[in-house]
Amino acid sequence: MTWVCLDGNDAAARVAYSLSEVLAIYPITPASPMGEAVDAWSGTDRPNLWGEVPTVVEMQSEAGAAGALHGAIQAGALGSTFTASQGLLLMVPNMFKIAGELTPTVIHVAARAVATHALSIFGDHSDVMSTRSTGFAMLASSSVQEAHDLALVSHAATLRCRVPFLHFFDGFRTSHEIGKITVLEPEHLRALVREQDVTAHRDRGLSPEHPVVRGTAQNPDVFFASREGANPFYAAVPGVVTEVMDELAVLVGRRYRLVEYVGDPEAERVVVLMGSAVGAVTEVVDALRADGEKVGAVVVRLFRPFPSDEVAAAIPSTARAVAVMDRTKEPGAPAEPLYLDVLSALHAAGRSDLPLVGARYGLGSAELRPRDVKALLDHLGAPHRAGSVTLGITDDLSGTSLPVDDSFRVPSRAVQAVFYGLGSDGTVGANKTAITIIGEQTDLYAQGYFVYDSKKAGSVTVSHLRFGPDPIRSTYLVEDDTADFVACHQFSLLERIDVLAAARPRATFLLNSPYPADEVWDHLPAEVQQQVLDKSLDLWVIDAHRVARRLGLGARINTVMQPCFFALSSVLPEQAALEALKDAVRSRYAKRGPSVVERNLAAIDASLEQLRHVSVPTEVTGGPRPRLTVPADAAAFLTDVTVPLIAGQGAGLPVSLLPADGTYPTGTARLEKRALARDLPMWDPSICIDCGKCAIVCPHAAIRTKVFESDLLAGAPEGYQSKPYRDRTLVDHVLTVQVAPDDCTGCGICVDVCPARSKEDASHKALDLVPAGERRDVERPRWDFFLSRPEVDRAAVRRETVKGSQLLQPLFEFSGACSGCGETPYVKLVSQLFGDRMVVANATGCSSIYGGNLPTTPWAPGADGRGPAWSNSLFEDNAEFGLGLRLGIDAHTDQARRLLSELGPWLGDELVSALLLSDQQDEAEIARQRVRIEALRQRIARLVDEGDSDERLPRLALLADNLVRRSVWAMGGDGWAYDIGFGGLDQVLSSGADINVLVMDTEVYSNTGGQASKATPRGATAKFAVAGKSSAKKDLGAFARAYGNVYVAQVALGANEIQTVRALVEADAWRGPSLVIAYSTCIAHGIDMATSMTHQKDAVASGYWELYRYHPAEGEHTVPFHLDSKAPTQPLRDFLLAETRFSALARSDPTRARALFSLAQQDVSERRRYYEQLAAVQRTMAHTVADPDELPESADEEVE
């Protein structure tokens, strides 16, 4: 028996891979790791059970993956796929087909919430429940071991019974939980997957040797009757699954049943459930039984076909009340699905009188703690039971939640540990290693679960580890006051997070501290000191960053912190632990070269030498934690909801406070003062040349330029910096370049692009990076003063220039995107240019996460309250969603214009014609139009006041704002535009509608962790293109240009700011569809992100990325294609090798890299040649001709 530590995804994927010939995949959280794993295994020629290497194909969407899977299995191959949430929904049409054709396959689902009022990447069963009617059999795993075992049961059973299987386990809780399991051996797989079933499946495959037609269209005469023919197959499923489970039990000793009962055989109170919550529920059942309570739980494994008899039989006859737990919500339904199934089963068994309670829980990975389960079991015994309750939330709106005993804990022999770290410091990786060492080198059981916040830059991670002599069933986070060990890997987190809440009395507290043991106490916040004293914690410190820096390991302190954990936790003898850690380092880093291994080994040795015990004083000496404050006049919502969300207290918010439709205020990111930067830019006005480059490239809108009249400098804080602004219009104005000290991430891009150097000292620029510690206090009052100065009059600046555009207020600020993100400068720029009249459709992806993931949003209103209105529909439909927004707005604009025309005589012809004829081509005219609208409203109000009862007047007042031209932007990444949403994008571009599409092309699926898209260039390595992508990047612009009436631009802000600004302005001005493809550097490229923007210069100089604008026009001799980049001056190879995604291939497979780079050079050269020719091609856009006589006679009618 082999014990290993795996997560649920890995556990399921191993089986699927071994038992498949074709795997069609597409990334979606939390199922992506399954696809990544099988792709990686296929890439290294790992064989399946039959010695063949499965074919793994990445498709353009889950719909594509399901279609490819359908085809593969129809050809008689063994196939499988992996998905979740919206991805599963995209598979539904094919699932009906696959099941209807009785074709064996297994879809493994890391079950996740389906987006409703909001997107959630986290776990529940709403996706699975949406596919109940497809005809797939459904098998639920509730632990990592089960995800492994039931994956096999699914694959074996589907081949025996021909009904396809959906095997699901809870997203994150199971898919990402690392557990210690025993793995199935090939002989186990071989025994259960019978060759005769495989042969029968292959024989049914479509073949010209024995041709058939399958998938006919049927008429009313036979369709229904044929459909009923499937019944015997479904009737057989429970028996087949039982049979396979029994065979598995004989082989491996782990016995599963369709339905299992846990608890008192004479239980009076029983819960029925499926999924990961089984762990927590069975813990509580055991704990309560130990206290003599008669409780039990029914675990459903086979959900479809629903084993009604078995479920009814499993509920003890002694039961007096039953709760059915559903991890989904069906608004408007009499109850949730499992409840209704249990109700039906009890009815069929003649037990209709047994009282049932429906309990919703765990939507979007909401925690289900033992106390919540106890509350439910207590409720079953209460005299007055509700028919439907919720667990784990506070529902003060509908009163569905139950009273909870917060002190309730289940006894456990497991050691529990919690680690706080940053995403960038390697804490999660370290803990995965720790779990693996403990799990695989001792007899202890082990569990690891990891929580991330919503940010990409400076994200906080919390690792929850358990290990102990008993199998670990605790499917919830380590609870307050129960952790035996707490580690804080970043000292600054002590100021933001209550890291010691988890600590039990006398727990060990390990702190990575820049202060030595004899000084650290006075640097701890008072709250932390109090907890240390109250809980008598054993405090240890180490300066891990110093050790890591000395060894050249940068910010990654994992190999320094890990030995401390082992030394202090004593879970293993110290020497054995160190040896195991060193083995892990050797195994993890062997591929990276001896120096990497040596430095990490040295880190382990240096670690314990630096670990120090702290003699804890008896007095609290520290100051209080800084508190998050909101402006005194802030809306109550911010205080009541946003601030607790930022503080990590969202789980305690009651239902009544949370917007049911998912509508939130904008402008909230400015409340989060995360102070992430280690260095801040410092401005020297004496050498600044007012170019605005620093502001335009800033990914976080954290360095800004503002001009205002010089007399407004009055009252400026001491040392406030400004310089005279040189401008013909804005005379007597001063300019300030100001950093937002608590919002800057310190990425350094502004300093990198700053072109102004001191004449005397070339190392000194107008912006230099200096340590943040020295600057923050200096810059804070300056920033506040800067913000308090009025914004410049939009009509007074030339917005189509770099410096002019940067005087406009960013209405997208302080996003949580990665430090140095290449996307956000574009978003910010668009918000500056059009934000006050802009509506955004945002495709799911990085931009929807940094744009709209709670707790806050970077989208913000300006001083006048106007700002971008933003929404995210889905990943796949964003262009269509944007078009819909356009159509909706246009409908209202048209109505307003019609009403204006109709009511002109009453409203004043002069005003009305000015309103109707305004071209709104510049800011000044937009401002005038707004003045007219205000005048219009006043006139309407006057007419109404005077007793005019024309119902059109209030309608016009309501719609009048639509008379300002709305700028509709559909934005997203290349995964959306090139792949999953391409069909829709094409449709929208063909529509002729006035919609602007911004594609932030990172050339990879950035948000889900770096999978190849059709934008991925040839020769780049990415997940799903492990050996380097062999095909060339798709020329998305070419598709759009083909229409002839679509404005198309390809831009790279870092290479040419003014071309980017011009393209965006032209796109907005174009009264038809516009597509702007924006080169966006990304951490997935493997570059130094501080040079993110200057790197774009090299991209253009090497011909890797061409800049152009395709401006359709009606003139007969116009040349619409403007090639804005010069002929390449650098070899492509030099550019490629500066990026890890290419250079990694050059190092891992130099021969292939040479071949692919050579082809890539040809791609670039040929494209250049083609574009140069295009730049001379005349093309006239179809347009209405004024004189009908010019047209051929046959066309007259159409013109009229």
């Binding site: 990544e36 960038s424 999660v428 990409k456 940068g554 990654r556 070269g593 190092r1147």
Partner: protein, 346 residues
């Protein structure tokens, strides 16, 4: 029958004095093969730089780990990049090149190393020797910027490196130095005493350049010019009589048979080329050899051995030409010519 081109270098018998020094063409088996086919007598592989083999993997590792475990949708253990195998990270690529070159070539393969500490010199030299290198070239490529480090300390470091490698390794050892030592003959003699078998004169540093657009300083390679051969020519001429048993290699500015002839006359055992081969391709070796043969035939030299050092500091008809006096004469004649509008001034 043509003249005898054979020569001895570091105790290795070479078919001619034409050696390809470390450069891009000696970094790949295909071009090494082409060089051999063109007649090159030995090859020096690109230097293994300690910083490169140690720091480069660390940088790569850091990049590969960017974003690992940062946010909930990108939780893979491999970050944003697939889990690739890098067999050749660190010294591996150099060692494999030595192995591949040895198995592909018949001519001697000399491996080059540049390290910082004595321990690292030995460590990497041994790796290269174990991989099969016929000889090791210690590439003393160093720019001293520390005002607290005096000339003695710098030279002690050089000698310590040679001593350390010599005491641990038995393969022939060449030492490639820069011309920027105040007392080169003394240093050369010390290097010989420490047990080196030959000297390679000289290193051409990657000299920095200033980008007038960005005001940044960039290091780029500039190919040599034939006039640069005069520097090694002088010092080989001076060192040859001082170190009669020591191999001397001339490198920098060897572009045609003319420079080869000159350095051999001054006392070199071999002439090394990089720039000319990069500019003209590996086949250029054949032309240089033909030029050498033609000169030797025309001037009735029967062997390279005969030429070696025949116009050295000791044997030159006018030994002062190797010294400072010659500089003064040259300069004054230049000024004179210039004043008179002569050829030098054109």
């Amino acid at each position: 029958m043509g003249p005898d081109l054979t020569t001895q270098y570091l105790g290795l018998a070479l078919r001619s004095p034409l050696v390809a020094s470390a450069g891009p063409l000696t970094g790949r088996v295909e071009t090494l093969q082409a060089l051999q086919d063109a007649g090159v007598a030995a090859v020096v592989l690109p230097s293994l730089f300690e910083e490169e083999v140690e720091e480069d993997p660390l940088r790569l590792s850091d990049r590969l780990d960017t974003g690992v475990g940062t946010f909930a949708e990108a939780t893979g253990d491999t970050g944003f990049f697939p889990d690739l195998d890098f067999d050749d990270l660190g010294p591996g690529v150099h060692l494999r090149l030595v192995e591949d070159a040895k198995s592909a070539l018949e001519v001697p393969v000399i491996a080059s190393v540049n390290a910082r500490s004595a321990g690292a010199w030995v460590r990497y030299a041994r790796m290269l020797a174990d991989a099969g290198a016929d000889a090791i070239e210690l590439n003393l490529y160093d720019v001293v910027t520390d005002p607290d480090e005096d000339a003695d300390a710098v030279e002690d470091r050089v000698n310590a490196a040679v001593r350390a490698v010599r005491s641990e390794l038995s393969v022939p050892l060449a030492v490639k130095i820069s011309p920027f030592y105040s007392a080169l003959p003394a240093l050369a003699c010390r290097i010989a005493e420490e047990g080196a078998d030959g000297l390679v004169l000289f290193n051409r540093f990657y000299q920095p350049d200033i980008d007038l657009d960005t005001l940044g300083v960039s290091a780029s390679v500039a190919l040599s010019h034939p006039s640069e051969v005069r520097l090694p020519l002088r010092w080989i001429g001076i060192l040859r009589p001082l170190l009669p048993g020591m191999s001397l290699a001339a490198t920098s500015g060897v572009h045609t048979g003319t420079e080869v002839v000159k350095v051999l006359l001054a006392g070199a055992d071999v002439a090394m080329m990089t720039s000319a081969l990069l500019r003209n391709g590996p086949a250029h070796v054949g032309q240089v050899e033909a030029e050498l043969v033609a000169w030797m035939s025309e001037h009735e030299y029967s062997s390279v051995r005969q030429m070696r050092g025949s116009v050295s500091y000791r044997t030159a008809p006018d030994r002062a030409s190797y010294e400072r006096a010659q500089y003064i004469r040259t300069l004054s004649s230049y000024l004179l010519d210039h004043a008179l509008g002569g050829a030098h001034g054109q």
